[in-house]
Symmetry: C3
Subunit: 215 residues, 3 copies
Amino acid sequence: MPLEATLLLVLDLVGTFAFALNGALTALRTARLDIVGVVTLGMITALGGGTIRDVLLDSLPPATFVDWRYLAVAAGGGLVAFVFGRHLERLNTPITVLDAAGLSLFAVTGASKAIVLGFGPAQAVIVGGITAVGGGTLRDVMIRRIPFVLTSELYAIPAFIGATALVVLSRLEVGVTAAAITGAALCFAIRMLGVRFGLNAPYPLAPPAPTPDDE
Amino acid sequence: MPLEATLLLVLDLVGTFAFALNGALTALRTARLDIVGVVTLGMITALGGGTIRDVLLDSLPPATFVDWRYLAVAAGGGLVAFVFGRHLERLNTPITVLDAAGLSLFAVTGASKAIVLGFGPAQAVIVGGITAVGGGTLRDVMIRRIPFVLTSELYAIPAFIGATALVVLSRLEVGVTAAAITGAALCFAIRMLGVRFGLNAPYPLAPPAPTPDDE
Amino acid sequence: MPLEATLLLVLDLVGTFAFALNGALTALRTARLDIVGVVTLGMITALGGGTIRDVLLDSLPPATFVDWRYLAVAAGGGLVAFVFGRHLERLNTPITVLDAAGLSLFAVTGASKAIVLGFGPAQAVIVGGITAVGGGTLRDVMIRRIPFVLTSELYAIPAFIGATALVVLSRLEVGVTAAAITGAALCFAIRMLGVRFGLNAPYPLAPPAPTPDDE
């Protein structure tokens, strides 16, 4: 395997581990889960985005499902969260940084895959964003939380910006690697600025009056 | 493009816009969402049913994902809901009518696609219904609401009736266009009667005793 | 059709009926549903796991969607729950036993399908488990309940053990039928022991401190 491919694989596995660990810890903070729940939700957070990507791109079976290394690393992240739980709280900052790295990587690799398979720019940007935030969204739905990506923080927006940068740059003859690194760096920088300064995406100015919950 | 195909495309895009707008407004009434949430939920409402349809019919990538016009119109519907919000409240009636038109169109086009691809009548009816109500169901799950299609109103039932009419008529040599128009008109009429008179689907006579929520 | 295939089909349809009936009754205990909701949730419980399996195995359209007998039996299970509701409460024990039989059968047939299609052992075990518990998980998400498979009881674990037994034994030249029967029997026995003695999967020793719900 050439050096570049090896590096990409390692980065992708690191991102997968970070997503699984962070996803399982987030789930544990919200719901009382047993070992099946913790590991499953870690795996769904890490692998769910790529699975939706591969459904939309007609690239089944999902790449991360076929490759046992992704399954093992994702399960490992969930198990670490199960075993160590609150002892990982002091590692919040490095986990957030790793999660932002995973977000950037997934946005860029998702968009790249769409381009390689011949999809257009709009599709590539959407798929990049879904690859990055789809897993966390599925996790939140399963623990009965409105997906935080829909309600607050800058999380999907950096992913879409990173994917857009990749799509634009890869049309400008700057080389795929340079385009990917720029897109990922942009996503990472915006995400970390959002975390640091507590930024949120814009809210509607005139939301309609709420209706009482129908139950 | 022949006139009939152009007309169908325009109708389909109008239905997509209506679903996105109505879906995003419904989401906004239930949950506090940022711009990512509003646009995403509008797009999911408009495109989710067709995506499930294409998974079940092995027709990936989803047709509405490949065609950027559907993506643009769906995103536009979500953005209009984000920008104008409660100022659209006075348009409730036309939006409900447009939504019923989208329901009818999606039920009929979903069932047609199944027939064209060689699936049986039961599959065509089911897929017609899912195309029509699948997107709203996904939206409700994401905003943590029991999908209203499962609990009240006449919404899925007109879609199933319209799809059934299409399936039956298209076997009776009445011509595809006549079958589609009849199915859509039937769905639309029943849906609007249901709205007008506040009709609900039947409830069970002897529901089992509720168990306390397990948390 | 040879005798063995007929027997397997009958067993599979019995499992499907049991899942639909039990799934619809569970949904009815938690939420106020109309006839669309009861039948839909019964069908999702019965057919959802196999649908996710066929997405992951790139075996679309889903087998149970193509075969109208599965659709009919699943809809029938939901309708029985709708019509008889609480009058079925006295049948709780046989329904639980039938559900455990369905769980065992689905775990084993799901894992077998993965093996037949050339997937590896890890994929086969995961798919076996998902086939068995996926439908109930989707149902719980739709009625706004944290999937019970993630929080309590022994439900996924017997399915994974049964699938693992099948995978291991089918590599040991014991014959596919013997491997399947052993795997299913193991799953069934562990599930029924879990029900009888109220066993749960392990909980984390040091869960992180809960964060207040974000709304």
